[in-house]
Symmetry: none
Subunit: 419 residues, 2 copies
C-alpha cells in the first residue's frame, strides 16, 4: 500500500519550523509496511491544496494531511477539503461538546471562533481529539483515504497511535511486519557497526533488515522483517538477537518490541528502583537539572525520586553539599574527589538509597589543556559504596549535557545491577 | 519570484533523516525575497522525478533539487534530468580533474563509479563542488531554472552561498520580502485571535499576511509582506506592530526580525540579569529541574545562574528549604504559603538576587476536587519582595511542566521589569 504525506502551512515553506511531523508519520507507516511515495509541503492556499489532493489521488491509497485545522483565519484546510469532496461543513455535536468541556474545565470562555472547531465536512468520519480542540477528519474519494489532522505534534501523534493506525490495520489485509529494536549505549555508530559486521552480513539471508538509529550517547538497532506467519517472523528475529547478545551484551540496555513502549535509561532505572522500593537523589552541576527532569517527566516519579540539587557555583557545592573547600584548590570542581563528595552528601541530604553526582565542562568555553571542554566526572553511590568515572565528550554544549546524562544514568543502572 | 524545493531519495521518505536541507534552503531564499511555493520529497524513481520536474515548471521560476547525485546505483537524478532536458550525459573535463585530485589528495584509488561523477547533462552549466566529488548542475527550461545539488549538507550549503545565491541575485531584479514575528505568552491561540480580530482584518489592506504559530504556553504571530521598497515594507510592518502593541502589550515578551535569532523567555531573562549583573536561583518541585536546564542550556549560564534545588518530597522542602511543617497540614505543598517560603529560602541558600519557586500537580494522578491536576503555584522573589500566583493548566504531565516553566519565567521577567 502506498501513502503520501501533505503538510499545510507557510511556517514550513519559509523555513521557520522543521517538518518533524512528516518524519514521525513516515516512520510509523514504514513500520506497518506502508510505503511513502511522496511528501509535500504547501501553503494555506485553496488552489494549491486542491491540486495537491488531486495529485495524491493518482499516487496513493492514503493521504495524511497535517496542519491548517486551528481556529484562526489562516487555517483553510477544512473548508478546502469540503470543497474537494463537493460537500459542506456542518457542526458535529460530539466535537462541540468536547470543545465546550475543554474550555469549561480550564475556566475559559468559549469564543465564537471555537465553534468553528466543531465544523467538519458533511459525511466525513470524525477522529476525536483527546488533547486539543481541532478534530481529525477521515474521508474517502475513489480508492484514496484522506486523513486530516491538527499540526500540533502531540495531538497528531495521539490520534495516529490510538485511532488511525489501528483502524488501517483492521480494515486492510496487510502482511505481518515484525520489528524489534535493541538499545545500546557506550559505543558510537561506527565502532558498533565494525563489531557486528559479520553478524550483519548474515541478516540478508534471514530476510531481516537492519537500521542504525543513533541519538547522542545511544545507538538503537532496529531489526525488521515481514511475511505471512508471525510466529516464524518472531522466531527469526529472536534467533538473530540471541547471536547479537553474545557479541555486544555489555552495551545493550534494553529491548523494544514493535508497538511496545520504547525503553529509556531513566525508565529502566525507575523500574529497578520501584521494584526494590528504593529511591534516588541527584547532585547535577554541568547537566543543570537535565537528569532530574528526565526522571520527573515519568508519571509516578515521586515513588522513587526524592529530589536534586543543582550546585552551579563552587560556593553552593561547598555550602549546600559540604564539599571541602580545599578540593577546589587541589583538584578543581571537575574532579573525582569533588563528585565523590557530592554523591555521598546528596545521598545524606535527601536520605535516599542511591545518588548520582556529576560535574563537567559543558562548553563552549571554560576548557583547559588538562581539562578540555567535554571533560565530565560522574559518581554513583549508595550508603556502602561509591563509584566514580571520567568521560570525555565533544565540543557541543547541549549534546554534552545529553551524553553526560545518559552516561550517568547508565552508570547507576550498572551499579544497581552490580554489573 | 517563486521557487520550489525538491528532495530526491528514500532516506527522507522512510523517516530515517529529517529534511533539514529544505529548511535551510527555504530560509536563504526567503531572506532574498524568493517565495517558496512548494516543497516535495520523492523517491529515486524516474517517473516520479519527471512528473515532479514537470509540475514544478508550472509553479516556479527556480527549482532547487538536492540528493541523488552520488556515485551509487540508486542515484538517478542526473540521468533523469538529462532525459527531462532531452539531452545526453557527457564527461566534464574540469570535474574529472577535480574528482581525480580529490582522490589523489586522500590517497584513495579512483574507482570506475567515480568517473560517473564527472558526467553532466550536455549544455548545462556546471557548479563546481569544492567539498566533495558530485558537481552541481544549473539548467533552464522555458522560464524555469533547475538547480541540482548533492544532498550532503555542507557541500550543498557551500555551493549555495558561494555560487548559486550570488548568481541569482546578480541575474534577477527581485522584490524584497520582510517578516517580523511577535512572541506572546499568557493567552491561548483562540483568545488571542478574538482580541486582535479587528486589527487582523485591517492587515489585508496593508498587504500584510498573519500566521499564528502556537507552542505550549506561547503563541508567535508572524507578519509577512513583500514589495520593491524595503524601507516601506519595514515601516508598514512596524506601524502594524505599534497598533498591535496597544491591544496586547502585556502579553508580548519578544520580537524577531526574520533571519535574527529567535527570542525565548529564558534568553530574555538571562540577558536582563546579565545587564544588571544579577543572579537567579530556583526551587522547582513539579517542574523537576526543567527550568534549571533551560537556563543551563545557554552558554555562559554561570554568569547569572547560581543553582537550583528540586525538593520533590515534603521532607526535602522542610529540611533543605525550611518550609514550616505546619504548612503541609494547613495549606498543603501546592499552596501560596509553600511557594512563598520556598522562594524566600532558596534566595537565601544560594545568595542570589532573584528566585523562582514552583509547586504543582503535574499529573496524571494526584489531583483532588479542590486542587485538580494542572494546579500550579508559582512565586518569584528578590530580597525585598515576593509575588505569588496560581495557574490552572491541563491534564498532560509533560505539557504541564513546559507550560508551568514558561509561566514561571514570564512571571520573573515581569517582576524584574516591574510591569
Amino acid at each position: 500500500m502506498k501513502a503520501e504525506i501533505l503538510t499545510i502551512g507557510d511556517e514550513i515553506l519559509i523555513g521557520q519550523i522543521t517538518n518533524t511531523n512528516s518524519v514521525w508519520i513516515a516512520q510509523q507507516l514504514n513500520l506497518m509496511g506502508i510505503k511513502i511515495v511522496h511528501m509535500a509541503s504547501i501553503s494555506d492556499n485553496e488552489n494549491e491544496i486542491i491540486k495537491a489532493l488531486e495529485d495524491a489521488t493518482l499516487r496513493a491509497e492514503f493521504v495524511f494531511i497535517t496542519g491548517g485545522l486551528g481556529p484562526t483565519k489562516d487555517d483553510i484546510t477544512k473548508k478546502t477539503i469540503a470543497k474537494f469532496f463537493n460537500t459542506e461543513l456542518i457542526i458535529n455535536e460530539t466535537v462541540l461538546k468536547m470543545v465546550s468541556d475543554y474550555f469549561l474545565k480550564r475556566d475559559k470562555k468559549l469564543l465564537p471562533t471555537n465553534y468553528n472547531q466543531a465544523l467538519v465536512p458533511k459525511s466525513c468520519q470524525v477522529i476525536l481529539n483527546q488533547n486539543g480542540t481541532a478534530p481529525g477528519i477521515w474521508m474517502k474519494k475513489n480508492n484514496t483515504v484522506f486523513i486530516s489532522m491538527p499540526g500540533v505534534p502531540y495531538e497528531m501523534k495521539s490520534m495516529m497511535t490510538e485511532i488511525i493506525l489501528p483502524k488501517i490495520k483492521i480494515e486492510n489485509n496487510l502482511p505481518f511486519i515484525y520489528h524489534h529494536t535493541v538499545h545500546t549505549t557506550g559505543l558510537g555508530e561506527s565502532a558498533l557497526a565494525e563489531l557486528i559486521a559479520d553478524w550483519e552480513d548474515k541478516l540478508i539471508n534471514k530476510n531481516i533488515k537492519l537500521a542504525y538509529l543513533p541519538q547522542p550517547g545511544i545507538v538503537r538497532l532496529r531489526l525488521s522483517t515481514f511475511g505471512n506467519n508471525l510466529d516464524v517472523l518472531k522466531k527469526n528475529i529472536y534467533l538473530a538477537i540471541e547471536e547479537l547478545n553474545i557479541i555486544i551484551e555489555e552495551f545493550i540496555f534494553g529491548y523494544e518490541n514493535y508497538g511496545e513502549e520504547s525503553p529509556s535509561l531513566e525508565k529502566i532505572v525507575s523500574k529497578l528502583l520501584r521494584e526494590k522500593k528504593q529511591t534516588l537523589a541527584l547532585a547535577e552541576s554541568c547537566t543543570g537539572g537535565y537528569i532530574s527532569n528526565l526522571f520527573v517527566q515519568l508519571p509516578g516519579a515521586s515513588e522513587i525520586f526524592k529530589g536534586a540539587i543543582v550546585p552551579y557555583t563552587n560556593f553552593s557545592k561547598q555550602d549546600l553539599l559540604n564539599v571541602d573547600k580545599t578540593i577546589f584548590e587541589s583538584d578543581g570542581a571537575v574532579s573525582k574527589q569533588c563528585v565523590i563528595q557530592l554523591a555521598k552528601q546528596v545521598l545524606l541530604k535527601f536520605n535516599s538509597d542511591y545518588s548520582i553526582a556529576i560535574s563537567g565542562i559543558a562548553g563552549p568555553s571554560g576548557g583547559s589543556d588538562e581539562k578540555p571542554v567535554g571533560t565530565v566526572w560522574i559518581a554513583v553511590a549508595n550508603k556502602d559504596e561509591v563509584n566514580a568515572l571520567k568521560f570525555q565528550f565533544g565540543d557541543h554544549r547541549q549534546r554534552n549535557i545529553i551524553m553526560s546524562s545518559n552516561a550517568a544514568i547508565n552508570l547507576l543502572r550498572k551499579f544497581i545491577l552490580k554489573i
